[in-house]
Symmetry: D2
Subunit: 224 residues, 4 copies
């Protein structure tokens, strides 16, 4: 469903990332993906999953699921609903939406059960190794000091990526590691891949860019 290496763009709840503007952004990502022949996916808000999955061609991830069964869980995001609406996967435990370890384990298991890809966010090498034991498809390591900043992971703390890759491999070598912060341009993407990552997860650098196509072109060049 999702080839690697890949770029997952997290739309968060930016003004450019939902509804009509979000659809425009999605179409731009689609064009960039086709033009530069690189795998791109979009992690979008629950309200837009169906809409975007129907009208776009790139794979849609949910930004979150709750590991609840059918029943009395008002206001929760049911994994089956996300799947039925057309998502192929979901982020879990993003730094802006943390879960307990019991819930992360349950969410990964629910994804496996119903056929959603799981991408669990972690914050350092230790938690990457921990999450690997839960067996998600992907984990995205986001050192908190790099989130949303202007520092590049490749220059600032390359060891958090290489170290996560190494520790994860020992615990569960089927889990792919994404670089989840500190990626600004194609060079950073290339460096992340070089450090052993299977791709990157990024957000504001694309979503709030003045020229999305130009930014994506550069990022996708780094995937090659």
């Amino acid at each position: 469903m999702l080839k690697t290496p890949c770029i997952i763009v997290n739309f968060k709840v930016y003004q450019q990332g939902y509804g009509k503007k979000g659809l425009k952004l999605l179409k731009d990502l689609e064009k960039a993906s086709e033009a530069h022949m690189g795998q791109v996916a979009a992690a979008v808000g629950p309200v837009d999953i169906r809409h975007f999955a129907e009208q776009g061609k790139i794979p849609i991830f949910s930004q979150h699921i709750d590991p609840v069964p059918y029943g009395a869980f008002t206001g929760h995001v049911l994994p089956e609903a996300v799947k039925e609406a057309g998502a192929v996967g979901t982020l879990i435990n993003h730094s802006e939406r943390r879960l307990t370890i019991a819930d992360i384990g349950a969410a990964v298991a629910r994804c496996r059960e119903i056929g959603l890809m799981s991408c669990v966010c972690t914050n350092n090498i230790d938690t990457s190794a921990a999450v690997a034991a839960l067996g998600p498809d992907f984990l995205a390591v986001e050192p908190p000091e790099l989130i949303g900043g202007n520092v590049s992971v490749s220059s600032a703390t390359p060891e958090v990526v290489s170290g996560s890759v190494e520790r994860v491999r020992k615990v569960n070598d089927k889990v792919k590691v994404l670089c989840g912060a500190g990626v600004k341009n194609g060079k950073d993407v290339a460096k992340a891949i070089e450090l052993g990552a299977s791709g990157v997860l990024l957000a504001s650098g694309v979503v709030t860019a003045k020229d999305v196509m130009a930014v994506m072109k550069d990022l996708l060049a780094g995937l090659q």
Copy 2:
């Protein structure tokens, strides 16, 4: 947008309440509303808001919003996204999705600002009075001992409805009170209205019913 007295049906994350089955349920509610001339609304999961709002005629509520602004709030439910997708209102602070008082206040204010109706759930007379001070359009009082049970609010604890209505009126007489638990049939609806409620909020009694049309006919008779 929503006339009173009204019946709000909370789809929760029941198997019957999302995707294709949820749409079938919505259509049944629509038919019942038209046939028996009573105001019915549906509170649905975020993934289904747009879909249901486009294909159905009865007003759609979200089950939850997060009082966040545009920006870096991955996995949160943006009020503007809910509105843009076609919802006319939202539940806030349901017993299965509690918020802090600061967030309830902020969520009610966000609803007012962008034109969503707000319905805040409370658990007793005191918290009903407290929420009234925040000025939502509706509050739904759900005594925890009645949620999901077989006890009728009208026979068991009518004073929680009449008491909430009375206290709310003193604090802010523009806030309408719904009876949010212990409603099983038309008699309960009629009793709730008699006690001063402007309607009812209910879930499993409708969503998991074998004959939704029959249940709705009975409930709507109680609204008259």
Copy 3:
């Protein structure tokens, strides 16, 4: 137990606020209270309640309670344990430890039941009015924009204090309002009292002061 007007000093988890250093601070507050004849209380961490209550003379508040009954609630702060250890009251819903509205209501009720004074923190006029409906002994309004900053509530936003006092009086005139942020010196204390507050709740300005006695002397002068 606590005369008004009063100054409640929140020790938070500052290095100066627990264990031996915390006891030294407590003794300084005690001396200042006696020397300048003003009511002072200390809100301290759970680990230090008994210790401080036994060795000091000023009233001790807990910084938090959980509204749980006896039983299986590992890691929660039992109201009865706080009371038995010698606290006379507790903060509830501090901005750094928010609760749901159902839990705030339950915590205030538990305090009333077992004889602890309750002081609920709020963040604006609306939530102050809401909390008043729950009937705590005190509420402390802390506009988030003033917390920990250098802006004085008296000059910046006096209306949040006077407005809270006014709204609270209408909802429940037995609830006393404290000014919970933006108080730096005796002038601010005097202004808060003038605006209708029954005292102030403050933290870093005292706890991290180089000369606690001098700061307290100034603050207590404002109480007169």
Copy 4:
């Protein structure tokens, strides 16, 4: 500080587990430990740590810590305060007090830094393996279906203990595994040890027992 095999008794917030009654219970555990020559520790509420550590001889654990630094964290349990009061260790992530994985990792690191033993609770084999990667001193696996029930882990689900021991060993063989649920008597203790556990964590079976000394005698026999 804590020899293995060991029995950790979690006092929770039972009526028998805090203040004067809690001290009586602690003294009983102390007597039992001495009489039957087995390692016993007590996990107690924050309010009682200092008191119990000063007046008892068996090691005291906190039931919870928050991985916060010094500063503005009102109502949080500062690791340094717990240590200064005399605790030798702490439970982390008990099923009644769950943390995010980032906070579990940070709490374990804080414990290591200041010299507290860490015992992280988990709910199944996968989360046990995950927590092992974070390097706590102990982990206590509590299958949720066994907590507080009458089912014995040795007869019902022995594989959750043996499986956790095995997976944990592969990830980090320095982490000791405790059996955290389904232990009622000496036979269960002996079975847990046989399955590879370094001891047990239990609560109501001891704390609410009519004859604590008899129960402890039986349990300690299982340690031999």
